[in-house]
Amino acid sequence: MERGEEEMIESAEKAKQDPIYLNALKDLIYQLADDDFIISFRGSEWLGLAPHIEEDVAFSSITQNTMGHALMFYNLLEELGEPEADQLAHERQSNVRKNAIYFEKKNGEGHYTEEPYYDWALTVVRNFLYETFKKVKLEAITKSSYQPLANVAGKVLMEQPYHLAHWKIWFNQLYHSTDEAHERLQARLLEASEEIGDVYELGHHATEMEHFELMISEGTLRERWLNEVSKTIQEFPSIDIGKKFGSGREGDHTPDLNQALEILSEVYESDKDAVW
């Protein structure tokens, strides 16, 4: 995306002057924040349960870092007049959340404190697809007309290659190991393809986002993402991609998100002043 006629918006004060611009901008940031937030919540549920101790350390480190990214995006929203970051993360109802639906999916059957029967194949596939997507979306956003957002995207992109590299290694190693591992990943990939179609959508304000050069178009985003995925999984782009549960970008969600929010708010209510 070339910076053309549109002027750069350097501050929250300036963004607030045009309500149409402001609403499109806020919606875009909510998508980024909510994606990072829910994926790191699902990650945090794995604490102590990962396949081995080194993975436990690595995964929790990635999760903590991703939560830090969510916080930076919520802070940007706060500057734009939204409630404070803590409230945005913990107190919003599911129908105003903008994360893609696939990312809220439970880690598996069972419950963290009881019998956590979680599926590692789902986690590897999901995180791999997430990090490839995050990379291309943020790359586009470094050229966004809203300077503070472009700056944060640039900062996140300096740290994120480690996350992507981590899940790429997991995916490749399992995909080329036993038949069982291969089949389980394949099944999870197929499942992902049926559900993840809202990920590259931009929601109700898609047209304005493109018009104001906040973001590239959905079509281009989709194309770049599939291209990035195909560097690791050649066959993925040829699979039909659907959105079985609707569009999280438009506020559609599954009961899995409510389940996550209930757990989150329990922890949050019990200790509101905790630093996270």
Binding site: V57, S61, M72, N75, G154
Partner: protein
């Protein structure tokens, strides 16, 4: 007088350590972006290292406390900005020296994002090292192993401006 006060604040910042990297000051880590002095009030803008760094609140508190101990300071405000990009290139030579002294290898130079990397062993300087875990106990560190002296050691992860 202004110049002298600025230098005093800068000197204090060289004494405040990152709680996760004891013995390396926030100043030598390149976390201090800007210092402004208005009369007896000091305003410090800092750049966080990793976004998920849980130590930010402690650093903020420690810096504030240390600067307020200067006799002429009535108030010190410390803010983190996410608008500036910290990179491991911002670590000073003194910072690198201190890291090494405490068994943490400084980040490699000329690193390309996404690529694999290793660094020389901080204990014996051997290049025969291998990556054990890219993610160490905190997001900013990795765990490596030295084949020569058989020690595991930590290294700061290179974080550089992303080129695309």
């Amino acid at each position: 007088m202004q110049e002298q006060r600025l230098q005093e604040v800068r000197a204090v910042l060289k004494t405040v350590d990152d709680p996760e990297l004891p013995s390396v000051s926030v100043s030598d880590l390149g976390m201090v972006h800007d210092v402004k002095i208005i009369g007896s009030q000091v305003y410090i803008t800092m750049v966080p290292t990793f976004a998920g760094c849980p130590a930010l609140d402690f650093i903020q508190r420690d810096v504030q406390k240390a600067v307020t101990e200067l006799s002429w300071v009535s108030e010190c405000e410390v803010q983190f900005t996410f608008q500036e990009k910290w990179s491991t290139d911002a670590i000073t030579d003194e910072g690198k020296k201190q890291l090494k002294k405490h068994g943490i290898a400084p980040p490699p130079e000329n690193y390309q994002p996404g690529n694999e990397w290793t660094v020389a062993c901080p204990y014996c300087d051997s290049d025969f090292t291998s990556m054990e875990n890219v993610f160490g106990p905190t997001a900013c560190r990795s765990i490596l192993y030295c084949t020569t002296c058989k020690n595991p050691f930590e290294a700061m992860k290179p974080v550089v401006d992303y080129v695309y």
